[in-house]
Amino acid sequence: MNDFPWLSLLIALPLVGALAVALLPTAREKLAKQVALAFSLAVTVLALVMAARFDTGGDRFQFTETHWWIKEFGVHWALGADGVALTLIVLSVILVPLVVLASWTDADRSGGVDGTPPKRSVKTYFALLLALEAMMIGVFAATDVFLFYVFFEAMLVPVYFIIGSYGGPQRSYAAVKFLLYSLLGGLLMLVSVIWLYPLSAKPPAEGGLGHGTFLFEELRGLHVDPTTAKWLFLGFFIAFAIKAPMVPVHTWLPDAAAQSPAGSLVLVVGVLDKVGTYGMLRFCLELFPGAAKWATPVVLALAVVSIIYGAVLAIGQVDLKRLVAYTSVSHFGFIVLGIFAMTTAGQSGAALYMVNHGFSTGALFLVVGFMIVRRRSARISDFGGVQKVAPVLAGTFLIAGLSGLSLPGLSPFVSEFMVLTGTFGRYRVPAAIAAVGIVLAAIYILWTYQRTMGGPAVESVRAMPDLSAREKLVVAPIIAIIVAMGFFPQPVLDVINPSVKQTLARVDRQDPAPKINVAENGARP
């Protein structure tokens, strides 16, 4: 079974599902939902079976497939998953069926988001979700830089149509902003991608590989002169920073979040944005290690700014979805900090953080989505005392929120702690400032909880129903995962660690020796 095309199948299955859903008659809305759910569950099962076969002590990339795609450009249909990619694929496939279930009524004619009637058919929404799933799996599984770029860009199209067709009143503005930001970043990356080809085509004596290629494993052996490497790094990094998103190119996210339907938002913020941080870890660091070290001070500064600025803005938000979006800007700051700290703890923590953040923010967006569907408003001031009328809803919100502020015992705590200790070992000042972000997180989560859930129930929420069975079914698995991974992160870390070690070996960084006496030769090795 070694040659079994696991990853190709994982990409094809949701695509087939998308096609099947799209070809159903428009009137069969319920059937479309059921088919979509069935396909997404099948993908989950397939991915979990594959993940169980992952050998933590084996090769870095497993389930590899390499076939020629466009020979003229040296492009392969090359797939493979290392630990980091595998965990992100598993994150995606777990979230998608939950999102399908959570969005059950979002696209209905009767129940459009934010009270606006939906613009297009129900089946299209679910077809787009499945198409997006295929792209997400593809982008993490691609081990050919060109193929990665193809998925990276193609992914934008379903999201664009989801936001633009099924979003709130400002949806077309938000959709266009999202697309243009991502496209601009993507095109800058395209220049870097194209540039890699002639570089790899150079003879080995000049640092090339002798043949033009985009295979990641081969490109790792490329020796690029430092100036060129810096340009190439920037091309990739700007694209990923927009995607992640980091300050100052984060402004598309709050708009997209505020307008997007809550269900697909889970995928946009929970998975899609991870492509940014994943790309930094995988491509920026490993292809251009020298340039990555050169850029580290600036990147760390931006990461710290993102952490603090995102958190402060989150505190000031009046819209629930915008608030969660800004908390994510803050969290992405932590992930980038961990990646560029270039220590084992930092990078493993960052990789774990990506998964944890996916679940924790996913849960938060789902609960917020449930609240918005009930109240037909996303304004914080429209809620109050929800705890009294819908205790389960409030409780889920609290757990999701607490995981967002990294309460010990919930999964994000482990990763945030690892990122901070990992960073502190090498860069004390950024780590110290970043730690303030945790305090700010407590403010934005707890204060929001207090305003929306605490106190006496206001008039408008009196009749608010508690979570339905379907909604409980959606949040229960996520909460279970958050708790489980809070206590037992080790299995996931075992999967992640070998790939992180490879990355660190490539950037030629050892962990700094622990020092008791800091004063003598400073923190930097």
Partner: protein
């Protein structure tokens, strides 16, 4: 001089040796055009339309078959017709492309359900004569021979191996097009204005071309591209004549491409011309003009590249940026696509600037990809109609995605291809030319290219927003799904997908055509 001495002298003049087999496709198209003129003169009105369509289709398909046969023949290429015509790998590829795209355009031109052409061009707009001819149900059939003449000129244009032949081809190609532009059935004044504008500016640019040819003759003592290249190698002759000649010649060529600052005609002509003719111009004329451009610069002026490259950089940058920026302000779809075509000409110029085998093959591929997509897009425009004919104003397309999702979806896909989203032919083409440009050291040009792609994406996306994310108007346009036009859309769509997902065969074909470069 007596007749006998004349005859005696005549015997001394060697008859030119013409390789009829190699010139076959062009001659076949011209022959069909001439027969078409005779049909127009002798056949009865009722029989004309069917006869003309059959004749045109047969001529084009026959020429295509002949071209394929020539291309499959692997003997080495050499110049034909006493050096006036070069039939070689790139030329055959270009001619094949032009013929396929012309057949697609013919499908739009021959559509009877949506009449695109005025019944009688000589009837003044708004007069009784016009109403009479329209009421009589007269169908315009002169368009078919005219189109064949234009296509014949297009086939000859990139094959011309000397500048005078090229000039003749340019005129044969352009004159019928000037006429065709003025034949729109609706908004006839706009159409006639477009024709006059195109004619005046085109005549002007032809004069530039001819003047450049004269100066280059002064420089090299020959109009043959190979001789000019040889003279360049010798580093002899007057440099003033050379540079002035090249500059004037380039103006003539760049005008046909619609490169900035010689692009003024494009939006007006594309908007005013009957849409099938716009499709023909946007695809076939562009292919032919780029073919001629490539031949002139790759054969005649290759060793002068250090002189023309900086200027061409400037033109390419201006074309990409101006095309993309001005397109943003357009509200008419045909005008918008005209500016988009200008921006694409800029992207194509980066392939010309590369001056390498890769540059050549990537430009060839891009032309195929763009040709199919652009015909498909214009075909969709002909289908969306209201009482006054085509509803080309952007605001009229509001909510089309809800009314007819398939047509709107097809148009959205073409737009995404124009924007260069992966898995469409537009991306593969762009990647190919940009890769060639980076390999040739033109990375800054590529950076400008991707930035203008991002700007251009804005207006493509805006159309998608209007179609899918806005509410349909109560009295919106209806989609008339005429079968032949729909088939053209389907073919364009299929090509756009296939060249995006599995481009290798066509890339191989273009690469194979380019390996031998042009003959001299």
């Amino acid at each position: 001089m007596t007749a006998s001495t004349l005859l005696a002298q005549g015997a001394d003049i060697p008859a030119p040796h013409i390789e009829y087999d190699q010139l076959g496709p062009t001659l076949l198209v011209f022959g069909a055009a001439l027969v078409g003129v005779l049909v127009e003169a002798f056949a009865g009105r009722a029989a004309r339309f069917g006869a003309q369509v059959t004749l045109t289709a047969l001529g084009l398909v026959g020429a295509l078959g002949w071209t394929i046969w020539l291309a499959a023949d692997s003997k080495p290429h050499h110049v034909a017709a006493e050096g006036a015509i070069g039939v070689d790998g790139p030329t055959l590829f270009l001619q094949g492309t032009i013929l396929i795209l012309a057949i697609l355009s013919l499908m739009l031109i021959a559509e009877r359900r949506n009449a695109h052409f005025t019944a009688q061009a000589s009837a003044l707009p708004g007069t009784e004569a016009e109403q009479e001819t329209t009421a009589a149900g007269i169908v315009q059939t002169e368009v078919f021979p005219l189109m064949l003449f234009a296509v014949g000129g297009m086939l000859m244009f990139p094959a011309s191996n000397d500048l005078l032949t090229m000039f003749v081809a340019l005129e044969v190609m352009s004159l019928p097009l000037y006429l065709l532009c003025g034949l729109a059935r609706r908004r006839r004044l706009l159409s006639q204005e477009a024709a006059v504008k195109y004619f005046l500016l085109g005549a002007f640019s032809s004069a530039f071309f001819l003047y450049g040819t004269a100066l280059l003759y002064g420089y090299a003592g020959s109009v043959r591209l190979g001789d000019i290249a040889a003279q360049l190698d010798k580093d002899a002759g007057s440099e003033t004549l050379l540079l002035a000649g090249v500059a004037l010649l380039s103006v003539g060529l760049l005008f046909k491409l619609g490169a900035v600052p010689f692009h003024m005609w494009k939006p007006d002509v594309y908007q005013g011309a009957p849409t099938p003719i716009t499709a023909l111009m946007a695809s076939c004329t562009l292919v032919a003009a780029f073919g001629a451009m490539l031949r002139v610069y790759y054969v005649g002026l290759e060793h002068l590249k250090w002189d023309w490259r900086p200027a061409m950089w400037g033109v390419a940058i201006l074309t990409m940026v101006a095309g993309a920026i001005i397109a943003i302000t357009q509200t008419d779809l045909k005008r918008m696509l005209a500016y988009s075509s200008i921006a694409h000409a800029g992207f194509l110029l980066t392939g010309v600037i590369a001056t390498s085998t890769d540059g050549l093959s990537s430009t060839l591929f891009y032309l195929v990809a763009y040709g199919f997509t652009t015909i498909g897009a214009f075909a969709v425009i002909t289908m969306v109609r209201d009482t006054g004919g085509e509803a080309a104003h952007l605001s009229r397309w509001a909510g089309l995605g809800k009314r007819s999702p398939v047509v709107a979806g097809a148009f959205a896909f073409f737009l995404l291809a124009f924007a260069g989203i992966p898995l469409t032919s537009g991306f593969t083409g762009k990647f190919a030319v940009f890769k060639a440009a980076v390999e040739a050291g033109a990375t800054p040009l590529v950076v400008v290219g991707v930035l203008s792609s991002a700007i251009a994406a804005f207006f493509y996306v805006r159309v998608i927003v209007v179609m899918f994310f806005s509410e349909p108007e109560a009295d919106g346009p209806t989609v008339v799904a005429a079968p032949v036009t729909a088939a053209a859309v389907a073919l364009g769509l299929a090509a756009t997908v296939v060249l995006g997902v599995l481009p290798q065969p066509v890339l191989d074909l273009a690469g194979h055509a380019a390996t031998q470069m042009f003959v001299r």
